[in-house]
Structures are given as structure tokens and as C-alpha cells.
């Protein structure tokens, strides 16, 4: 587990160093580092089945070292099925993003891969840290390299976008720090123990007002990352201006840290407050679904379009998390994984097109299918995966979320379901305007390289597998999600509905 964090960090430093001589060394080191991380995660996953049966609760591994004893802070890492899924997804998208930047990044390659790998390492740290201070440490840790990725290798408005990204996430992060410290001191008042350990902070007795304000501190930080309306305005800029690898990691991994935070911290730490807040959160989720979809339709910039679909898809996650029953939670997890893959793939595709045409403006594109049928087919595949076609991964997630949410709030479920229709519109518009129609500019493009085919092909396979046989993912996260769904507050919610 330590290796998951250590390999990307060490790989990053090595890549930076190697990049001083030959750019290609840096690329290979980064590729090997991410691949090793992925292999370690998959290995753990295939092993995890056997650990599960021994019935140790949802936690698969747990280790802690003292770090800052003065504050009761320890270097506490642990993971359950949810963390494992997220780590695997992160490592996989890490490989994809290294491949995607193979030709796109020509300058300061070493430093680029250093930042990329440190972002990945930080995100993995977020997924396995179970000390609140350590969690915050990793949470902030991944921002600075991402800032550099956008600010140095981004597109035309990179500095503005990078600054906006950093201010939004850092500002909300500080709010979370306040909430963490408040929680810790409330816990100290109640028990006399100063600790940042997740397991000890569970079940801290809080007054209603205290629980609500602390919960909101966490919620806003995660909602900015997710992003939920009205905290989403940084996202279109950051995604659009980032280099391809940056967009892939942003959409595939960084957004998931927000969802992960909701599942890991907001619900278990503040069950009552979260329950009272659930109607608002579900409303935000459902509005986000429709709003993101409509705005996506209105974009002419390909990357911006894909960015807004993220707002829409992550709305399902928010809805599912706060619907708070086993089905909706499973759906949210499934949606997180599937969205990471499809959106990552769409960004890779857009990046590939931009590399060839030097534009992302759909009004200039059109009729590309004739010259790049394979890219076109892949584009069509990921577009319909993204709109939630049955048989593909996203459908499973969205369907489960809607199924679970229906039992809690019919109104918001109906509105959320509207998002499925608008999704069809934007996804087909994407394909139509880019690959079909008249080739007014006379584009003649190179077909995809083996490198692109390999990474996109792997993503196709995963999406089909998730769609047809989602059981392994569901099984992996089941123990944790069931534990969440059987919290007293969740039971109370279900009881009130009967």
C-alpha cells in the first residue's frame, strides 16, 4: 500500500532527473512507474477476494506509523473496496495519461512527468489516508503539481484557468481544514483525547448546530471538487485549458476525490447532519445533471463540452450518495468508475484530434469520419457510453442511482432522469458535428497510432466489461457500501419512507 504512493513519487523525481538528458527517458520512466502502480493495485484486487471472506469488516489492510504525536497525528493508511477501486482507476488513468502526452508534450518533458506523477501519487494518497490531517496533506499535495500542469503546458488561457482552479480548490480546502480542526477539538472536549484518526473520530458526539456547520465545511470542499452546482465554475476552464493528460487526470481522478470524500467522510462522520442535509444535496445533484447536460449541448469547444458532461455525470454521483441506500451507493461507485474511464477516453480523443487539427472548435471540424474511421468509431463508442446506453458501464451506474433515488425522492429522480434524454442530445451532437457532416475545411488526418489504439482499446474493453459484467466492481465495494447503508441514520431514512 505504501508502494502505491511511493512508486509515483519516486518515479516523478526520477523522470524529472532523466528528462534533463533525453525526453524519452522521462516518458518511459513515467510509463513504467504508473504501470507498476497499476499492477500492484490489480494484484491487490485479485487477492482481495480471499481476504474478504474472512469477514474482517470492510477494511482490507490497515497500517499506521506515528507522525506528529504532539497532535495525535499518525501516518495512517488503510483501504477498503472503495479505496481499492479508486486506486486502480487512478493508476489506470495514469498509464493512459502518460501515453496521451507522449507526443503532445514536447517541452520540459521531465518536469511535466514529475508533476503528472506527483498528482497521481497525491490522489492515491487521498484514497488511502485515514488520518484526517494526512488526508488533508495529500488533498493539498495534489493541487500544486496540477496547477503547474495547467499553468505551464495548458492552452491559450492557461494562467487564468490554473489560478481559478487553484483558488477554488485551495479556498474550499482551507474551509475543510477548519472543519477538520473543529471536529478534532469537539472530540477532544468530549473524550479528552487529541487525535486526527478517522476511526476514533467516528461517532463524535456533536450538537446539532456544530454537526451541521462542520459537515458543511467538508461538504463544500468536496462539492467544489466534485463539482456540484453552484461550485462548478472552475471546472470548464480548468478542463479546457489543461493539456490532455491534465484533463484526463482532472476528470478521471481529481473529481473522484470529491465523491470519495463524501462517501468516506461526510456520511460516516456526520450521519444525522448529512441526513438532514440530504434533500438539498439531492436537489443540487439533480439540478446539476440537467444543467450540465444543457450547457454541454450549448458548447462549441469540444473540450468544454466534455467538461460540462462531467458536471452532469457527477450529479448522478451526488444524487446517489445522498439517496443513501445500498442500490444508490453502489450506483454512485459504479458511476465514478465508469465516468472516469469514458470521460478520460473522450479527453484522449479530443486531445488526439487537437494534435492533428490544432483546433477544438466543432464549427471548424466536420466530416472527419472519412479520413479517420477508427478514431470516429471510437468517438462514437465513448459518446454513446457517456449517454448511458444499456450494455455499457455508465448505464449500470446511472440505472442503479435512479433506482435507489426513486425510493427516496420521486421528484428529483424524475428530474434526474431527464438528464438521460439531454445526454443523448449532447453526445450525438458531439459525434455529428465532429465526425459527420460536410468536411468543409478539407481535413485529411492521420489515423490513430498503435499507442492511441492500445490505450483507447483498453478503455473500450473496460467499459464493455463494466456494462455486461459489473459484478466484480459491485462486489469489491459491497462491504463498504453496505456498512454505509446500515448506519443508523440511513436506516432512519428508510424507515421514514415506509
Amino acid at each position: 500500500m505504501l508502494a502505491w504512493i511511493f512508486v509515483p513519487f519516486a518515479g516523478g523525481v526520477l523522470a524529472w532527473y532523466a528528462g534533463r538528458w533525453r525526453a524519452v527517458f522521462a516518458r518511459w520512466i513515467a510509463l513504467v512507474a504508473t504501470a507498476v502502480t497499476l499492477a500492484l493495485a490489480v494484484l491487490e484486487w485479485t487477492h482481495s477476494g480471499s481476504i474478504h471472506l474472512s469477514g474482517q469488516g470492510p477494511w482490507l489492510a490497515d497500517s499506521a506509523w506515528p507522525w506528529i504525536p504532539r497532535f495525535g497525528i499518525s501516518f495512517h493508511l488503510a483501504f477498503d473496496g472503495l479505496s481499492l477501486l479508486m486506486v486502480t482507476l487512478t493508476a489506470f488513468l495514469g498509464v493512459v495519461s502518460v501515453l496521451a502526452s507522449w507526443r503532445e508534450i514536447g517541452e520540459r518533458v521531465g518536469f511535466f512527468h514529475f508533476n503528472l506523477l506527483w498528482t497521481i501519487g497525491g490522489a492515491i494518497g487521498v484514497f488511502v489516508a485515514l488520518d484526517l490531517c494526512l488526508f488533508f496533506f495529500f488533498w493539498e499535495r495534489m493541487l500544486v503539481p496540477m496547477y503547474f500542469l495547467i499553468a505551464i503546458w495548458g492552452h491559450e488561457q492557461r494562467r487564468y484557468a490554473a489560478l481559478k482552479f487553484f483558488i477554488f480548490t485551495q479556498g474550499s480546502g482551507l474551509l475543510m481544514l477548519l472543519a477538520i480542526l473543529a471536529l478534532v477539538f469537539f472530540h477532544q472536549r468530549a473524550s479528552g483525547v487529541l487525535t486526527f484518526d478517522y476511526f476514533e473520530l467516528l461517532g463524535t458526539p456533536l450538537s446539532q448546530a456544530a454537526a451541521m456547520s462542520t459537515m458543511l465545511g467538508f461538504f463544500i470542499a468536496f462539492a467544489v471538487k466534485l463539482p456540484a452546482i453552484p461550485f462548478h465554475t472552475w471546472l470548464p476552464d480548468a478542463h479546457t485549458q489543461a493539456p490532455t493528460a491534465g484533463s484526463v487526470i482532472l476528470a478521471g481522478v481529481l473529481l473522484k476525490t470529491g465523491a470519495y470524500g463524501l462517501l468516506r467522510f461526510v456520511l460516516p462522520l456526520f450521519p444525522e447532519a448529512a441526513l438532514r442535509f440530504a434533500p438539498v444535496a439531492m436537489a443540487l445533484g439533480a439540478i446539476g445533471i440537467v444543467y450540465g447536460a444543457i450547457l454541454a449541448y450549448a458548447q462549441s469547444d469540444l473540450k468544454r463540452l466534455v467538461a460540462y458532461t462531467s458536471v452532469s455525470h457527477l450529479g448522478f454521483v451526488l444524487l446517489g450518495v445522498f439517496a443513501w441506500n445500498a442500490w444508490a451507493l453502489q450506483g454512485a461507485v459504479m458511476q465514478m468508475v465508469a465516468h472516469g474511464i469514458t470521460t478520460g477516453a473522450l479527453f484522449v480523443l479530443v486531445g488526439a484530434l487537437q494534435e492533428r487539427t490544432h483546433t477544438r472548435d466543432m464549427r471548424l471540424l466536420g466530416g472527419l469520419w472519412a479520413s479517420v474511421p477508427r478514431l470516429g468509431a471510437l468517438g462514437l463508442f465513448f459518446a454513446i457510453a457517456s449517454l448511458g446506453l444499456p450494455g455499457l458501464g455508465n448505464f449500470v451506474g446511472e440505472f442503479l442511482v435512479l433506482l435507489g433515488a426513486f425510493r427516496v425522492s420521486i421528484l428529483w429522480t424524475v428530474i434526474a432522469a431527464l438528464g438521460l434524454i439531454t445526454a443523448v442530445v449532447y453526445a450525438l451532437v458531439l459525434v455529428q458535428k465532429t465526425f459527420h457532416g460536410e468536411n468543409t475545411r478539407g481535413w485529411r488526418l492521420a489515423e490513430c497510432t498503435p499507442r492511441e489504439s492500445a490505450s483507447l482499446g483498453a478503455m473500450v474493453a473496460i467499459i464493455v466489461w463494466l456494462g455486461l459484467h459489473p459484478q466484480p466492481v459491485i462486489d469489491t465495494a459491497r462491504a463498504s457500501m453496505n456498512a454505509l447503508a446500515s448506519l443508523p441514520a440511513a436506516k432512519a431514512q428508510q424507515a421514514s419512507l415506509r
Binding site: R70, A151, L163, F166, I167, L175
Partner: protein
């Protein structure tokens, strides 16, 4: 009152610095080049640091009614001497290294360090005032040291006038307190205050408030901050670092000791005033920094806001607050010295305004990557980003603030930090930009001494940012039980 061997041992660190100052002065009179004076200064400071544990074993001890050598004083002395050591090396690089004939700067640095050390050990108004004046007088000369530049003279005179003014405020405040109680010893004032019920009358509060004004000038907190940007801009970069770190740190340390001894935290009026000062410093420092285009001025306003953050910990009182102040000061010292060290390395001596403008840093990442890397680390630390000491320090302060339920200052701190990101990131973004075709930065090669100092500071910044437990252990031990009851 006898002066025993224990007293002598306790005073050894101060004596070492004073002796070094005299020796450096003698050497400076006879030697042409600066190496001798620098060596004496460094040796004296190193010896003083080495003598601290010895003095700690002799103490805690009141040496004459004027000074108290306890772990608190020794801790801050250690910080002051270490910072002066680094700044002396930076000065050597800044003023031309081997060919430098600038000898008196080290004498002045030693005297200023001695004044600061007296300040943190003072337990009596006389030593308080004496230390402050020793520090101020040395600083007048240091700030105006580059006397061939107009800016240097301007900054020196500005500082001279305002420091004189603040000293008179301080003296008047002390006189009021003395008129009220008939004693100038902190501990006796505290005893009288806690014995009497009607102790906090107008006279005493006015006295403490005037002392606060005097110290406020030294701390450069709003509304006593006007001189800061001009002086920082006009002084040589290492001297600015000294003004920003050692002089402020010492002033804050003595103020804290005075507040704790006198029990001033119990006065609601003073707490309210300090809260207002903290909030105003955070907001004004950060907002005004946004408007600047000169890196030294940005750092000056940044330091105003940093002192605002420190005052939050100051207000928190209690042992946690004291520890937070000590850790924050350590982080702030490392960061500010590093940042001004980079500024000095980029613009060089006798620099004009243009060479400190932000666009001179354009593309620094690609032309001088190590320097830019160090500067980035320092700026991220000022912004409180993890892996740096600045993060742990901010964490400490926020923890202390929340523990004391100071919601308004803590929330201001968060807002201020977010505003702060704008200008820290702005500098970093400029450094990331593609370098200008013709590099206008004067191609002063990286001098060895400043390189070593900056590398050392960066390593310290990261190591203590990742594994702060070592330093926290020291602080916790040194400050145990030191806080208002």
C-alpha cells in the same frame, strides 16, 4: 545583589555576540577586505548558539532585575542567532563576495542581533527599552547602508523617524504604567494586577496600549505598517530579510512575555484591540499585496499579513498558542530569509527599482531553475501549502485559534490565505512563463555562500514540513508551562 558564576554562564550567549561585535569592529578598522569581519561574526553567532544549552542548564535565572534567562528566551535567542548567521552569509554574497570591502555591515548585524536577544530576555522596562533601541539604532545604519542609492537613504530616514516616534510612544506607555504601580518589573506589575480587583483602569490600559503602539511599529501591523514597503524596498535584500524576521520576531516575543507576565490577556479591551489589529493586518496586507509589481513590496505586504496570522496565535494565548507562535516564527524566519535571499541573488547590490520588478522574474524557471525552485518553495510555504513548514505553521495557528474558539480571526485567516494565493501564484506563474528572448537579468553568477544558505533553508523548509515532530518536540519541551494562566 551579587553576580555569581551561574549568572555569568547564563549570560554567555549574549556575551559571545557582544564580544564578536567588538572584535569585528577592531578587525574592520585594520583589515581591508570583509572576510575577517565575516568570520568573526559567524564564529561569534555559532559560539552563542553552542552556548545556549549550557545557559539553559544554568537557568531559568533572573540575571539582575533586568534580564531573565529561561528556556523561552533561549529558544528565541537561538532563532535570532541562527537567522543572523544565515543573513550574514547572504550579506557577504550580496555585497560582492571575495572582493567585498563591506566590513561594518557585520558589526551592525551583530549589534542588532544582540539588541534582539536582550529584548527576548528582558523582564524589566529598562532592558526592554535598551534592547529595542540597540536594535533600532543598528537598523538605521543597516537600512541606509547602501547610501549611494537614493532609495537607501530614503528608507533609512523613514525608518529613523518612525522608529523614534514609536520609541517615544513606548517610553510614554512605560512611564504611565510606572506611575500607576511604582515598579518596572514585569513580574511585580503582574502580581499587583492579579492582586487588585480594580487593576484595569484607564491609566493602565492606556499605558499598555501605548506600549502596544510602540511594538506595533516594530511588528509592522496595521495601522502601524506604512513604513514597511518603502523600507523593505530601499534596504539591501538581506537587510530587508533581517527587518522582516529578527526584528519582528524579537518584538513579538517580548510582547508575548509582557502580556503573559502582566496577565493582559484578561483585559477585554486589549483583546478586542489585538483582534482588530490582527484582522486588519491580514486583510490589508493581502489586499495591498495584490496591487504591487515589485517583488520586495509584495514580500513586505505579505509579511504584514503573516504577522496578522501570528497575532491570531497570540490571541489564542494558552500553551498551544505559544507553541504555535514559536513554530510559526521559525517557519516565517526560514521562509522570509529564503525569499529575500532569492531576491538578493536575482537583483544584486545597488539594485534599482526596475531590477526588482516582477517581470524581471519572467522565465526564471528555465534560466535559473534552482533559484526559481527555491523561490517557489518559499512562496508555497508563505501560502501554507503542504510539504513546507508554512503548512505546519498555519495548521498550528488555525488549531490554536479554533481551540480558543476565535472564530472571527480564524475565518479571516482563511479568507486572507485565499487572497494571498493570488499574488504568490502570480509570481510563480511569471517564473513559469517562457523566458524573454534577451535575458535582462544581470548575469551575476550564483555565489557559493548564498547558494549554500538557500539550499540549506530549502532543505530545512521541506524536512521540517514533512516531519515537523522533531522541531515540535523541541518547542514543546522549551515552552512547557509557558502561557497565561
Amino acid at each position: 545583589m551579587s553576580f555569581g558564576q551561574a549568572d555569568l554562564i547564563a549570560l554567555l550567549p549574549l556575551i559571545a555576540v557582544a564580544a564578536a561585535a567588538v572584535l569585528a569592529l577592531l578587525l574592520a578598522a585594520f583589515q581591508e577586505h570583509a572576510r575577517g569581519a565575516l568570520a568573526v561574526a559567524l564564529l561569534g553567532l555559532a559560539a552563542a548558539c553552542a552556548l545556549l544549552p549550557l545557559a539553559a542548564r544554568a537557568g531559568p535565572l533572573g540575571v539582575t532585575p533586568l534580564l531573565i534567562i529561561d528556556r523561552y528566551a533561549l529558544l528565541f535567542m537561538g532563532l535570532i542567532f541562527a537567522a543572523t548567521f544565515a543573513i550574514a552569509l547572504l550579506c557577504y554574497s550580496y555585497f560582492g563576495g571575495l572582493n567585498s570591502a563591506h566590513r561594518s555591515v557585520y558589526v551592525l548585524l551583530l549589534l542588532a542581533a544582540l539588541g534582539s536577544a536582550v529584548l527576548v530576555a528582558s523582564s524589566h522596562f529598562a532592558s526592554f527599552f535598551l534592547g529595542l533601541e540597540l536594535l533600532s539604532v543598528a537598523l538605521f545604519a543597516l537600512i541606509a547602508y547602501e547610501r549611494d542609492t537614493e532609495r537607501g537613504i530614503e528608507a533609512g530616514i523613514k525608518y529613523l523617524v518612525l522608529a523614534g516616534l514609536s520609541s517615544s510612544f513606548l517610553a510614554f506607555g512605560m512611564a504611565l504604567v510606572y506611575a500607576r504601580f511604582g515598579t518596572m518589573r514585569f513580574a511585580e506589575i503582574g502580581a499587583i494586577v492579579s492582586a487588585g480587583n480594580d487593576a484595569y483602569d484607564v491609566e493602565l490600559i492606556a499605558g499598555i496600549a501605548l506600549i502596544l503602539v510602540g511594538i506595533g511599529f516594530k511588528l509592522a501591523v496595521v495601522p502601524f505598517h506604512m513604513w514597511t514597503p518603502d523600507v523593505y524596498e530601499g534596504a539591501a535584500a538581506p537587510v530587508s530579510a533581517f527587518v522582516a524576521t529578527v526584528s519582528k520576531g524579537a518584538a513579538l516575543a517580548v510582547l508575548l512575555r509582557y502580556f503573559i507576565d502582566v496577565g493582559a490577556h484578561r483585559s477585554a479591551a486589549l483583546t478586542a484591540a489585538l483582534t482588530a489589529i490582527a484582522v486588519a493586518s491580514i486583510l490589508a496586507g493581502n489586499l495591498l499585496a495584490l496591487l504591487q509589481d515589485n517583488v520586495k513590496r509584495i514580500l513586505a505586504y505579505s509579511s504584514i499579513s503573516q504577522l496578522g496570522y501570528l497575532l491570531v496565535a497570540f490571541l489564542a494565548a494558552g500553551p498551544l498558542g505559544t507553541e504555535a507562535i514559536a513554530y510559526y516564527l521559525a517557519a516565517y524566519f526560514v521562509t522570509m530569509i529564503g525569499a529575500f535571499g532569492v531576491v538578493g541573488a536575482v537583483s544584486g547590490p545597488g539594485a534599482d527599482r526596475a531590477s526588482e520588478a516582477l517581470d524581471q522574474y519572467s522565465g526564471l524557471f528555465w534560466t535559473r531553475p534552482w533559484l526559481a525552485g527555491v523561490f517557489t518553495a518559499m512562496l508555497l510555504s508563505l501560502a501554507g501549502i503542504p510539504l513546507t513548514m508554512g503548512f505546519v505553521a498555519k495548521f498550528y495557528v488555525v488549531a490554536a485559534g479554533i481551540d480558543a474558539a476565535l472564530w472571527a480571526p480564524v475565518i479571516t485567516l482563511v479568507i486572507g490565505s485565499v487572497i494571498g494565493l493570488f499574488y504568490y501564484l502570480r509570481i510563480i506563474a511569471v517564473m513559469c512563463a517562457p523566458p524573454p528572448a534577451a535575458a535582462p537579468v544581470n548575469a551575476q553568477s550564483g555565489v557559493l555562500e548564498s547558494g549554500i544558505v538557500l539550499a540549506g533553508l530549502t532543505v530545512l523548509l521541506v524536512v521540517l514540513g514533512v516531519y515537523p515532530a522533531a522541531l515540535i518536540h523541541v518547542l514543546h519541551g522549551a515552552l512547557a508551562g509557558f502561557g497565561p494562566s
